[in-house]
Symmetry: C2
Subunit: 256 residues, 2 copies
């Protein structure tokens, strides 16, 4: 059986029409069962600004108060998700947009308050792989936005990279899984200033070494942590690269 393929696309790529178009065509060319997970933080920040709702972060993580939760529900679950689905439908991909509440595919709990109250941030409890497999079995392609729910009626805001990794781990109990994290550069770089210095294969000791040397950007650390978690959780292959790297044979980073 061909593997399940899960592709994560970041908010930055959604906003560049040419790249987004290249991305969805590359995605449409993947054969077999597949899932798209998208982010979208910048669009949410713009709407928060327009409504004069302060955008709050702690160490790069958004603090989701009740009003912000409404906004991300609108932007992630509505504006971005439905437009991505409509664009995929237009090129023949039978996409179905989903949040974690839909079919109870991703159940989470509100993050426990330790020193910082992240508000309606959701930490994942389980992924319902059976429903995803049923939908893919019916020929549908789930397009998942970074919203989860607690099973008691509360929507929660969950990082899209983490959702991708957790879906990968859940599906790896059912078959082979390949994960592809797409973003604006070609992969994990050995040298920030040289966009071609892509590390083709990255194992965890090397990651920790680069990190301790300060050679991994802050935004990359959670992404890589999720990538290594996916490998540890049973995912066969994880790659990190540009918006079409998953149809290329080289020029991106493979996580070992």
């Amino acid at each position: 059986m061909s593997p399940f393929r899960i592709v994560k696309v970041g908010g930055d790529l959604l906003e560049n029409e040419i790249r987004f178009n290249e991305f969805i065509h590359a995605f449409s060319s993947i054969e077999g069962k597949k899932i798209l997970v998208h982010g979208g933080g910048k669009e949410a920040s713009r709407l928060l600004d327009a409504l004069k709702i302060p955008v709050k972060y702690h160490e790069g993580r958004r603090i989701t108060d009740a009003k912000t939760m409404e906004i991300v529900t609108m932007v992630y679950g509505g504006l971005i998700n439905k437009n991505v689905v409509a664009q995929l439908q237009a090129i023949g991909v039978s996409a179905i947009g989903m949040a974690g509440c839909d079919g109870d595919i991703i159940n989470a709990h509100k993050r426990i308050v330790d020193k910082i109250d992240y508000g309606f941030a959701g930490d994942i409890d389980y992924v319902n792989a059976n429903i995803l497999i049923k939908l893919m079995g019916a020929g549908l392609v789930p397009v998942i936005c970074p919203l989860t729910h607690d099973g008691q009626g509360q929507l929660l805001n969950t990082n899209a990279d983490t959702i991708t990794s957790e879906i990968g781990v859940a599906l790896s109990l059912k078959g082979r899984v390949k994960l592809h994290y797409c973003f604006g550069i070609n992969g994990v770089l050995r040298d920030f200033d040289d966009k071609e210095s892509v590390i083709e294969e990255l194992d965890e000791p090397t990651f920790q070494q680069l990190r301790s040397e300060g050679n991994i950007s802050a935004g990359m650390i959670p992404k890589l942590t999720n990538a290594f978690n996916a490998i540890k959780g049973g995912v066969s292959k994880v790659t990190i690269g540009n918006h079409t790297h998953f149809i290329q044979s080289s020029g991106y980073t493979t996580i070992l």
Copy 2:
């Protein structure tokens, strides 16, 4: 086989917490295959106001310019749809939120400009009953917001009563269908000022007579036109009433 049951709930009911709670419990008690269609115009108008985007109507129908289309995509597809799904999940209904683009369930075209340009208003071309039946067959309950798409990447704004009627007609080729339009009053009234003067059975000649006498409110006319279209299209039963009328034996209007 038990009939397909399709329930439409209006935006006014979504905004009253007690009634909404009564509604979803009544809905959860319906056995067999079922679909929920929701509206939500008022919430969209509030967000348009907050963003200082003018709300435009012509004869009670919203004119959907590009900016308004973004807002309704956020509010209908995101805020309302995902919250209704999360609430249903919390009481054990395996809901899955959808817009017309999801699984290509409702394909439409941008309304032809005659005298008035309604903007991104969508007139339905087809409903994909097979996908809806597959989802219901997998134990899922579609929760559908009033957004459609044109199959070429454009989302469109379509009246929720019309969506309900068209889904009913499409499903009636596959089995018996009952439609229930829920709103804030008990049914079609013989006398506006007497909320108990519900017409228990309404046929089209009586509707036309009441209409010509000015005894049907403007907002009720498109709803009733959709209801009669559903009956003509093969739907077995259409009722109009309050938020739990579909589990009651009387006290609402049945369309003949």
